[in-house]
């Protein structure tokens, strides 16, 4: 089975996020960027499927500016076969990403699209679901385990109450959760091999997708800082304080 793995370049999880002074967004100048950690997990899973013989070919896709090629290169160093870079400097919302991915799916004809459940920058948690809807494919979100079973996948999903196990027929869209696997480090020889793997350069126009935004960001603000608390002597005082504050 051919597996398509979309990967997103995001602010590194270790970076202290700073909001721009005009509140138009997060400051991305001179900060470290890396692959969305959830996408690292989907890359790892795809590579494991290939090692196990369930996947025949693995393709990474990234949509965004020039530097996204580095994110694709990281996935190639982890073991993905080849990449597709859809270049654009514009902001791309989940629906536009899903539409581009749909066009790529129609061209590449994978049986499985495996992607992170969300990206840690905007936390939208929408792309996988929208893509499944656009394709009319079954979806299994928040995967904790994936096993191939003939023409279908058995997927353990992380839900509030525990693990829900479902069966989806292929082709399908699966979004992965944090505990599915532990991504490998790319070894030195594989980093050098990744240099020679191909990355196709495309644009949204190649796929005839209009990526103009549907949403307007009004303002981005830091979360309110924590204010000092007060000590209470006993439960009675606690209850009265909570009532005073209108919490209960």
């Amino acid at each position: 089975m051919k597996v398509l793995v979309p990967v997103k370049r995001v602010l590194d999880f270790n970076v202290k996020v700073r909001v721009k002074s005009d509140q138009s967004g997060v400051d991305l100048a001179n900060v470290k960027m890396s692959m969305n950690p959830f996408d690292e997990i989907s890359v790892e899973e795809a590579v494991r499927m290939q090692e196990a013989g369930t996947a025949t070919e693995t393709i990474a896709v990234s949509i965004g500016p020039e530097k996204c090629a580095e994110t694709i290169r990281t996935s190639l160093a982890m073991g993905i076969d080849r990449g597709i870079h859809v270049k654009t400097d514009a902001e791309v919302e989940p629906l536009a990403v899903a539409k581009i991915l749909k066009a790529i799916v129609e061209e590449e004809k994978p049986e499985l699209v495996l992607l992170g459940k969300q990206a840690i920058d905007d936390d939208s948690n929408q792309t996988g679901q929208m893509l499944a809807a656009l394709l009319g494919w079954p979806q299994a979100t928040f995967a904790n385990s994936i096993t191939k079973d003939g023409d279908s996948l058995t997927v353990g999903r992380e839900v509030d109450g525990g693990i829900q196990t479902i069966k989806v027929s292929l082709p399908a869209v699966v979004t992965v959760d944090l505990r599915l696997n532990e991504p490998r480090y790319a070894s030195l020889p594989n980093i050098m091999k990744a240099k020679r793997k191909p990355i196709d350069a495309k644009t949204p126009d190649d796929y005839g997708v209009d990526i103009s935004p549907r949403l307007t960001t009004l303002k981005v603000a830091e979360p309110a800082g924590r204010t000092a608390g007060v000590k209470v002597a006993d439960a009675a005082e606690l209850v009265s304080k909570l009532k005073e504050e209108g919490v209960i």
Partner: protein, 375 residues
């Protein structure tokens, strides 16, 4: 002149950093306290190519350059200076066997060394021969299909732990040769474990050879070429150890930045005092200068620059002195807490101190630099 790393070098550095953060840093304090080294973590490192960084790919090497190696050792030593330095010594052994051994010897040893299924120790120094390395006394006498080795090697990292020992021994009045002696060979024994100031996460002891008989096939290269190999390894070894100082110092600086931002005295964070700010600024500046010198020296080896030896000596001298000073300043900024093992700073100070002494003392570095100036 381009000071930026290539895309691959950035990936290599980031990967080494991740490995260091999650596989070394959380355990460094325990390894130091228990004076233990983990074979498991070394094999994991080897799985990423860290045991044969600048060795040809034929037998499992990663085929990287010396600048690449510096980037790796800097990042690994952020997590554990002692383990990173041990890996650098193992790399020297792997490289020497691969670069100078014949095909049969390479095929026998390099794949295992590259996977760290076999761990290597480098044995040049003797109790009476340090800076004057050529005055070594260990002897190898040919006897039919064997060499018989006698002598004592001192300050050997990994002694009693490693699987193979690369021994420099005299094969004539002016002839030094390099041999591989496998653990378990009759006549090979070890002194008591040395008690040290730092580098506790690796064992150090004497290696003792008493009528130790090894096959002729364990000679690396030709008889009499050993000292040439040792000299060929010096420049890179100096860049490696300098890089290990960069990493330790970098980790200490980051800890000091964090601590001074959190520690409140006289009603404000101590990072709000100009003394702290100026101190941090000087530490960062020295570290940056040291890093530039080490990276450039690594690059000069990669390009076989005629002035590489002097540049490597300068870089080693500067980076190891600066590294120790930065770590010591970080300890001072931590106040009394810096003196406590829990904060991890005193370990870095202890681990970095020896870098000013080994791979050629910093006094020998000055000899090399002065010689290049006055020739």
């Amino acid at each position: 002149m381009d000071f930026s790393l290539t895309e691959e070098q950035v990936m290599i550095r980031d990967m080494a950093r991740q490995f260091s953060d999650s596989e070394l840093a959380p355990y460094a304090q325990r390894w130091d306290a228990e004076k233990s080294m983990s074979r498991g973590v070394l094999e994991k490192a080897a799985g990423l190519g860290f045991a044969a960084i600048y060795t040809k790919a034929e037998h499992g090497g990663s085929e990287m350059g010396r600048l690449d190696a510096a980037l790796i050792f800097e990042q690994l030593s952020r997590g554990c200076v002692s383990t990173a330095a041990f890996l650098s010594i193992h790399n020297m052994v792997t490289w020497m066997v691969d670069a100078f051994g014949d095909d049969e010897l390479r095929a026998r040893f390099v794949p295992k060394l590259a996977a760290m299924k076999m761990i290597g120790s480098y044995c040049l120094t003797e109790p009476g021969s340090g800076s004057d390395a050529a005055s070594l006394k260990a002897k190898a006498v040919k006897d039919g299909n064997h060499y018989i080795l006698n002598g004592t090697k001192a300050f050997i990292s990994g002694a009693g732990f490693s699987d193979v020992y690369l021994i420099m021994a005299k094969t004539g009045e002016k002839s030094i040769s390099a041999f591989l002696v496998e653990d378990g060979t009759p006549g090979l024994s070890f002194g008591a474990q040395e008690k040290k100031m730092g580098w506790n996460a690796q064992p150090t002891a004497q290696v003792i050879l008493e009528d130790c008989r090894i096959p002729v096939a364990n000679l690396i290269g030709a008889e009499g070429d050993g000292f040439k190999f040792a000299m060929a390894g010096l420049d890179g070894g100096r860049v490696n150890i300098g890089a290990c100082s960069l990493g330790g110092a970098g980790a200490a600086l980051d800890a000091a930045i964090q601590y001074t931002g959190e520690r409140q005295q006289f009603g404000k964070a101590i990072s709000a005092f100009q003394n702290t700010q100026f101190k941090l600024a000087d530490m960062a500046t020295e570290l940056d200068a040291a890093r530039l010198m080490i990276y450039r020296a690594g690059d000069m080896i990669d390009k076989s620059d005629p002035n590489k030896s002097s540049a490597c000596a300068m870089a080693k001298r500067f980076a190891t002195d600066a590294g120790s000073k930065i770590a010591n300043d970080a300890l001072q900024l931590h106040g009394g807490y810096g003196y406590l093992a829990d904060y991890g700073i005193e370990r870095i100070v202890r681990d970095l101190r020896v870098h000013q002494i080994l791979e050629g003392t910093n006094e020998i570095m000055r000899v090399i630099i002065a010689r290049s100036l006055l020739r």
